[in-house]
Symmetry: D4
Subunit: 235 residues, 8 copies
Amino acid sequence: MEHLRLLPFEEIEEAMVDHHRMLRCGFPEVVYGESKNATQIIAIMERIKESGDNILVTRLNERKYRIIKDYFPHAQYDPVGRTLVVMNKPVEILGTGKILVICAGTSDIPVAREAVTTAEIMGNEVELLLDVGVSGLHRLFSKLDVIMSANVLIVVAGMEGALPSVVGGIVSRPVIAVPTSVGYGAGLRGMAALLGMLSSCAAGVTVVNIDNGFGAGYAASLMNRRLEAYEDPLP
Amino acid sequence: MEHLRLLPFEEIEEAMVDHHRMLRCGFPEVVYGESKNATQIIAIMERIKESGDNILVTRLNERKYRIIKDYFPHAQYDPVGRTLVVMNKPVEILGTGKILVICAGTSDIPVAREAVTTAEIMGNEVELLLDVGVSGLHRLFSKLDVIMSANVLIVVAGMEGALPSVVGGIVSRPVIAVPTSVGYGAGLRGMAALLGMLSSCAAGVTVVNIDNGFGAGYAASLMNRRLEAYEDPLP
Amino acid sequence: MEHLRLLPFEEIEEAMVDHHRMLRCGFPEVVYGESKNATQIIAIMERIKESGDNILVTRLNERKYRIIKDYFPHAQYDPVGRTLVVMNKPVEILGTGKILVICAGTSDIPVAREAVTTAEIMGNEVELLLDVGVSGLHRLFSKLDVIMSANVLIVVAGMEGALPSVVGGIVSRPVIAVPTSVGYGAGLRGMAALLGMLSSCAAGVTVVNIDNGFGAGYAASLMNRRLEAYEDPLP
Amino acid sequence: MEHLRLLPFEEIEEAMVDHHRMLRCGFPEVVYGESKNATQIIAIMERIKESGDNILVTRLNERKYRIIKDYFPHAQYDPVGRTLVVMNKPVEILGTGKILVICAGTSDIPVAREAVTTAEIMGNEVELLLDVGVSGLHRLFSKLDVIMSANVLIVVAGMEGALPSVVGGIVSRPVIAVPTSVGYGAGLRGMAALLGMLSSCAAGVTVVNIDNGFGAGYAASLMNRRLEAYEDPLP
Amino acid sequence: MEHLRLLPFEEIEEAMVDHHRMLRCGFPEVVYGESKNATQIIAIMERIKESGDNILVTRLNERKYRIIKDYFPHAQYDPVGRTLVVMNKPVEILGTGKILVICAGTSDIPVAREAVTTAEIMGNEVELLLDVGVSGLHRLFSKLDVIMSANVLIVVAGMEGALPSVVGGIVSRPVIAVPTSVGYGAGLRGMAALLGMLSSCAAGVTVVNIDNGFGAGYAASLMNRRLEAYEDPLP
Amino acid sequence: MEHLRLLPFEEIEEAMVDHHRMLRCGFPEVVYGESKNATQIIAIMERIKESGDNILVTRLNERKYRIIKDYFPHAQYDPVGRTLVVMNKPVEILGTGKILVICAGTSDIPVAREAVTTAEIMGNEVELLLDVGVSGLHRLFSKLDVIMSANVLIVVAGMEGALPSVVGGIVSRPVIAVPTSVGYGAGLRGMAALLGMLSSCAAGVTVVNIDNGFGAGYAASLMNRRLEAYEDPLP
Amino acid sequence: MEHLRLLPFEEIEEAMVDHHRMLRCGFPEVVYGESKNATQIIAIMERIKESGDNILVTRLNERKYRIIKDYFPHAQYDPVGRTLVVMNKPVEILGTGKILVICAGTSDIPVAREAVTTAEIMGNEVELLLDVGVSGLHRLFSKLDVIMSANVLIVVAGMEGALPSVVGGIVSRPVIAVPTSVGYGAGLRGMAALLGMLSSCAAGVTVVNIDNGFGAGYAASLMNRRLEAYEDPLP
Amino acid sequence: MEHLRLLPFEEIEEAMVDHHRMLRCGFPEVVYGESKNATQIIAIMERIKESGDNILVTRLNERKYRIIKDYFPHAQYDPVGRTLVVMNKPVEILGTGKILVICAGTSDIPVAREAVTTAEIMGNEVELLLDVGVSGLHRLFSKLDVIMSANVLIVVAGMEGALPSVVGGIVSRPVIAVPTSVGYGAGLRGMAALLGMLSSCAAGVTVVNIDNGFGAGYAASLMNRRLEAYEDPLP
């Protein structure tokens, strides 16, 4: 711990940007955009830029983006997934296989796109399957070869959240279930899907928070990585 | 209403047995055994017996059954579905097609059996499919012909309750979803399955209360019946 | 399954429109308008139009409708029920009897209208009874003949959701209960009505999600249909 | 307040019996038996007996009763309502009219009986209507004259708890709704009935806690009483 | 019931105004304004005006009021309690005593005012005590004489909802507790207050829905009325 | 941290007893007895005894105590508060003032006693006030001098949990509110009291978990202590 | 109590400002700004100003502030913590030690600032630690000396709310945990953090309502104060 | 799918044992013992034994074990983790690294042991760290080298469930969080820990159901495996 304490980090007024996290993780810096205003986000991005790392901003609405793009004109914004990416250096592929993101319904696409972007910037080959919900299983089965070839699977579903159980019953690879807040009434803003996924009868399924596409993409990256890739950057 | 008020019904101390319900419905009398002791159940059964109707007792544990069988030695008891049936006259087939009860897991069988017994005594041909959960869909698909031939389907499932969505996406017949209290933790004693089924992405699915096999069997019987069968007994 | 996999369906960017569902169901294509923007809805409608099927768009607000009507000038919009209907071919009556939609209060009318429109476009004779809540039962009893003549009943109610129990105690036909989010405080945005309907003391009542008028109309159509009507379109 | 502070009350180890509450209320002393053992209950009863007041013990199981009856052989125990009454002086009728307790189902009877006993010992004429649930309304309407003649009504119902709305729509007198924990699954141990009753569309309905027959009987007594009866005992 | 069925009531498109309810109750017509637009409210008010009854509109925001006042220029609007009153005939005092409305905090005043207006138009003498919460009990005790002289008490409180227990422990008259949605976080939009009031240790307290000032005023009016006043208008 | 890592602690199979916590805190060792069997508890107590510290076991039922007392014959057991105390050295008074525990109802006494015992063994003068609930406030006010003289107050209450707000409005000292699981139905096993206390309108009130008398006693001890008493044992 | 009743307080229409609370507490007057409009707040502030006390307004948005500042030009507004302070006399340091406010994440800062301002105006030395969450513990440990020197600690955290347990395991001083509504989905608007903090495995932690920075600052001030400071102002 | 349908599986009365799951997964057969009686479990085990696979029975209480051991005398039973293992062939190490199970408190050990046993029988090297909760972080930091060397981590914690966030902030490997039902009151039988873990501020954490040690061990095995190991058994 004596060691950890001496690692370089800096205090700034509104957010302590933690450079050595990148050292520990080999991952880019991530800024959660939801509860920060454009000025705060720009300040943090400027600090990260100095370090040369890539930057991922999540939950960024278009209004904030229009302010930020004057300062970071080369940043790539995805209005569906609400992510902003600044590439300060090329992404190196660190994953051992492919990460497959399966999306149950049209309304779940924003969360799925956040997962795709996260996994890509963290060094993975990623593929996205759209609109393959449980009530039309022939769509799912027409993609069986794609599904069977993935190393880690992220399944994004709202409403009753049944898709991860179905996928988890087909493959023998880690499945990360992402409930979405899509639906209404008894869906309880995603709680029905969340509780269902946690109660899944298919073993091998683990769950992240409602709408947490970033968390799923991040966790999938850790699962897809060689252990060595992780140990290298440790001093 | 003046008419309805004059229909014959009798007050007894602990339960008013309502004979003209049978007149209205063409169905047997049903006794909910959970919150009544053996003495009360016997008293009610004796009254019904006089009318010559068939009797269905639900949620009857073995301890109460052992007392009752001395008074109704010909009653048929199902220790798994916890139902007791007294046949005072033959059951006439009133349904237009077959009712199929699909049971997701081993632990859901008691609820499925309650549904089967209810639908049978109400004049239906009934078939039961066991252990065809979402995490092993090939089991489901091996029974596709049976599933496609049913007029009404009852799908019994605990845990994440995903099976009704899958079945509802395959058939174009009414699907009654029955959540069960099987599971633990985030299953919330059946609430996860219930909320999931209500949020089902498959249209045509309707839901009954947790563990309510009787209600599902009864509703399926109404759906399976010709309208005429219902209009006949009306005065 | 081999067969199902080869059925024609097409991938488009934002939504895979599933034509063979119509083949399976004999029903029109349905577009859930809530979480799609006008552009997406128009794109999907254009694809469906090519197939010659009728189109039902649900949960469509007036702002989106004003954009869509330039592209589909003959579409019929119901601002109360928030549905849009495009008739590409006449509706054939497939139901065996009448579907009756009973609406407890003034505020429940939008949900009831969504159920009526859905059942009508799916080939049923539909009747609507307005404002016949439990606290004024003489209104209900003045319509007893209408109620007794229906083949399937949909009961729409918010607040305490007591009406389905009353109706279910009168008729011997399937009753679909639709809780609405009308009410406040302890009504918990429709959860009180939902839980009450699921706990109904009247057998034969099944329940759909809060405010799900479409689901109720769809399920009622399945219950009202002859089994043959369903088997015909199967290859 | 100086005055209130000087009123006689006594501390005993486990429970401070509050004599002047009787002075304020003109009501008997009440002991809540659920969380006290027989020894504690007897000790409290002995203290009350000295004051000459009548005693009502609620939520008393038979095991405790068998111990207590050796000390209070003239006490009247109701094993259904689980109440014990010791009459140290005759009950004076203080109510201005009749209190009617309406009980929806067989399983709700214990709670209804607790309400009846409470209202009787507090000086009211009480009548009890059994098993008149919403799914069989003709039973309710056959008793319309009894219902219309009551001054205060207590309606006890479990499951969906719809009966108070129906009764509240018929009468123009105060209706106290008592949800019971009867039911299962979505009934949530009485919460569904409670939430439904609070959301009742019938004005004039007020609600007490789940299974709180005593509270309903007590509140009904206050409503049925002349204001003078209350002002007399005030010093 | 034959009789009730023949009583005059009229169907209009959006709301069946029920004139004989006034006959039954001796009360004015009430319009719930929340879920109706100004046009609908005006239509209903016009119909009631013809009958000569007084009108109470609740939950009416200022925007709707500004439209309505052109049609009903003599209507009295209370922007705090959000009620609109149209006096077509003088209010006759029907209550036997005074109704006291006690309001715990500044933020609870709108609900308290709705209760006051409701009770007044229904023929009661009403008094309002402001800002006498549990955390400053000396305020409550300085009004002890006012509290002791009321026939029925309405206690309006948000946050922890403790005031009804305190008041219920002082008086021996009916206390109607009204939880309000005031508060935040663990207050759960009034659920904490509601649950607390239902669990009140003071007998004689009954509860209405969150923010339901109207329901409390209505129920208090029924409690405050002589039984005769109710029986007179019955045919 | 290097330092902390070297502090002496020992691994044993089922529980790592942490001796330096005592060094840091100046407090005795505490064993949570609920989820451990008698054998495990005795093993842990033997280890602590060697260190010479005092021992407090909480949530210990009588059955386990009867086994333990053979090994620790001088241990003092409180069957009401379910605590066991072993005094290996005299308790030194470290508190700056008196801790007052106020108990709302008879059924809350076990939790109050756990708080008293905890605070006493941690070096405080403690006083206990019994049965002073909100519905009988004169009892509370008769003890006003005792209440005003306390340095820290613990208020234990179930049901609606209103007492902490009342006490917090009287004193200007820290008030720790302890909700209890006493009550039923809408009390939700203590959640109603917990939510109410968190929503308290009286500032200065902080809350611990339901039935957590130990936590309240422990926190009160920290609040009652001089800062110096804490700094002394730090190396 | 006779005494308390005679203490000076004044009724004004919308809020009874309670001057003697200051007498009892030695604290400034506090106005909760959330549910009051600017006019009401100004009226109350004017009354307090006459007494010469300091004023703290909490939950005040910028729109209201811009109106108020015309009347109180010297008031200090904090747009982050949303507090307004009017200093009518210098703040006297009454605390015995330092209060440390620890803030887990950037989004928790507004609540932390409300706590800081509250504790400062109540006469305490306060220090604020920013962005020291559980997932980067080296930040926390780099501040160990600051943490160990505080007399009372306030820990503000959203999401999983784990920080108070960590801090409570390090120090032996009172820790007040403040859950924040930061987060989404399963965070349930702060309920996850609240429930977690209440279940904390670290003894000595007490909890206030979600986002209640004021309550935490107020309670910390009471804990940090000498008992004498409190007894002095009592008459 | 044609292929999958033809794979060998057998129907038996109470449970369809699915042999080809093993083929797909390379894993042993697992029997969930909670809801099956000893006779059912033995029947299933006999069928599996014929296939030569290893057997894992979870949630098996001692009473059932005592019956089963007569039929499977060589089975190894763990009374703490409640697992039964029958080794029909040696376990082959398929994992690429070590799985570390970290257990927060003594009461969480049963769940942790279930995870250990599951991961071991599925071909992994597993290590277990006991009693390293957040309130005593020096214990955690004394094991930093063990923690850093694991390929996949399972963190088992009840109460506030904070440990996974702390561990997830230290390592850059997948962390599976397992909430346990340990705790009481606001812990809501594990829901507080579950919600907290889902809201974790540490990315890379995924969650399984409450007390689901088996699910965590199974998912960890999938994460720890080489993709090739999975592809081999595919036909």
